[in-house]
């Protein structure tokens, strides 16, 4: 052996038992879920916890995950992830933190790299004021570029509801961010 493998992998799943199903779900969807989770949270650690909790939930509810298309599986996992985030958000500390961050970040001079990063963090913190479901809709639409119809079908709500959340979110975010970064379209 010239080089040890740098990663110790659990054996590749074979067969179709629950563990294999879970492994297949993880391999197919973990990356997408992490990207969403990271955009729904304030830190990479929170995002990892959120993804982990989503798969723990999936492990307990394997029978109820639709086994049709990858899109259906993904939608199920996304809904669970957003719901877990909503439960955390109800426990409130998330909101309190971001309010403090916005107050602290009033003076911004985006001429240096450091302050540009601060601007980014402040902008990102503003998303914390949104209810997690609304935030998920904003992330999917404004950042991931998903259509209203696709978001609606993923979250199991109507496209009109999606549009309503988007316009409410724009109003909330603009008023919060205006003092920091000026006017936006």
């Amino acid at each position: 052996m010239t080089a040890n493998p740098a990663i110790a992998l659990p054996g590749a799943p074979e067969g179709d038992g629950p563990r294999e199903r879970l492994a297949a779900l993880f391999d197919a969807h973990e990356d997408r879920l992490y990207r969403l989770a990271r955009r729904l949270t304030g830190s990479a650690d929170e995002a990892r916890d959120l993804v982990q909790d989503t798969f723990f939930k999936a492990a307990r509810s394997l029978q109820s995950i639709p086994s049709g298309t990858a899109g259906e599986e993904e939608a199920w996992l996304v809904r669970v992830l957003v719901n877990i985030r909503r439960d955390q958000w109800r426990r409130a500390s998330v909101r309190a933190r971001s309010a403090g961050m916005l107050r602290a970040g009033t003076a911004i001079y985006p001429s240096t790299i450091e302050s540009a990063l601060i601007t980014k963090r402040v902008v990102w913190a503003a998303l914390d004021v949104l209810h997690p479901r609304r935030r998920a809709i904003v992330v999917m639409h404004e950042i991931e570029g998903m259509s209203r119809a696709a978001i609606a079908s993923c979250l199991g709500i109507s496209a009109i509801t999606v549009g309503w959340h988007l316009s409410m979110a724009r109003r909330e975010l603009k008023s919060l961010l205006q003092p920091h970064i000026g006017d936006m379209r």
């Binding site: 040890n4 990663i7 110790a8 993880f26 650690d45 982990q52 990102w124």
Partner: protein, 202 residues
């Protein structure tokens, strides 16, 4: 004038944070797959990520087999832990050592980039089989900073992990290590527990 979408795309943390490593992903995968089934839920305490501790797994398979026979099983003794940068080819100033469990040799850089005092936390984790165990390490801030800088310039070359002076594994770095690592040798439970108990605070 910028749109709200522009502002958020610019601020997207995925745009400026370092890419996640495969190792980190594999650690979560293993936690998910190894979680006891509902019937046994509660038997294993749930491991949460420590705040500000990205977990990066550095694993090697089989490297600890010979190491197993070389250590005296002594639960109370401290364990000396060191990480050195290493090379596959000899050069001036490098120390040649054998990697435990095989014929491979690596060439160590003299200074340890990480020692016991850099470890904030050590934890027993499940190994590849029901009978084997590994050790997950979380570094403190000083250690994390040092290993991130050192390994950032060393990707593609080996890293040597020494326990009590023996190189138990020398994985090739696929990406920089930041704040934690997993030693996933095929340890017995007693060996892994000894390392966990002895590695912190020496």
């Amino acid at each position: 004038m910028k749109t709200l979408g522009d502002v958020f795309r610019e601020a997207d943390p995925l745009g400026y944070e370092p890419r996640r490593s495969d190792m980190e992903r594999q650690l979560i995968r293993r936690r998910v797959l190894d979680r006891p089934t509902a019937a046994h839920a509660g038997a294993m305490p749930r491991r949460r990520f420590a705040r500000a501790a990205a977990v990066v797994a550095v694993g090697a398979i089989g490297a600890a087999i010979a190491y197993r026979s070389s250590i005296a099983v002594d639960v109370v003794a401290a364990v000396r832990f060191e990480v050195h940068l290493a090379e596959d080819t000899p050069a001036a100033g490098l120390r040649e050592v054998a990697v435990s469990g095989g014929t491979r040799r690596v060439y160590l850089h003299e200074d340890a980039i990480l020692t016991n005092s850099d470890i904030a936390h050590a934890e027993l984790i499940a190994g590849r089989t029901a009978a084997t165990f590994g050790v997950a390490l979380t570094f403190n801030d000083a250690g994390a900073g040092r290993i991130a800088i050192a390994t950032g310039r060393h990707v593609g070359r080996p890293l040597a992990i020494l326990i009590d002076g023996t190189v138990v594994m020398a994985p090739v770095l696929r990406s920089p290590i930041t704040t934690s690592a997993v030693i996933s040798g095929d340890f017995t439970r007693a060996e892994a527990e000894r390392i966990v108990a002895g590695i912190v605070g020496r």
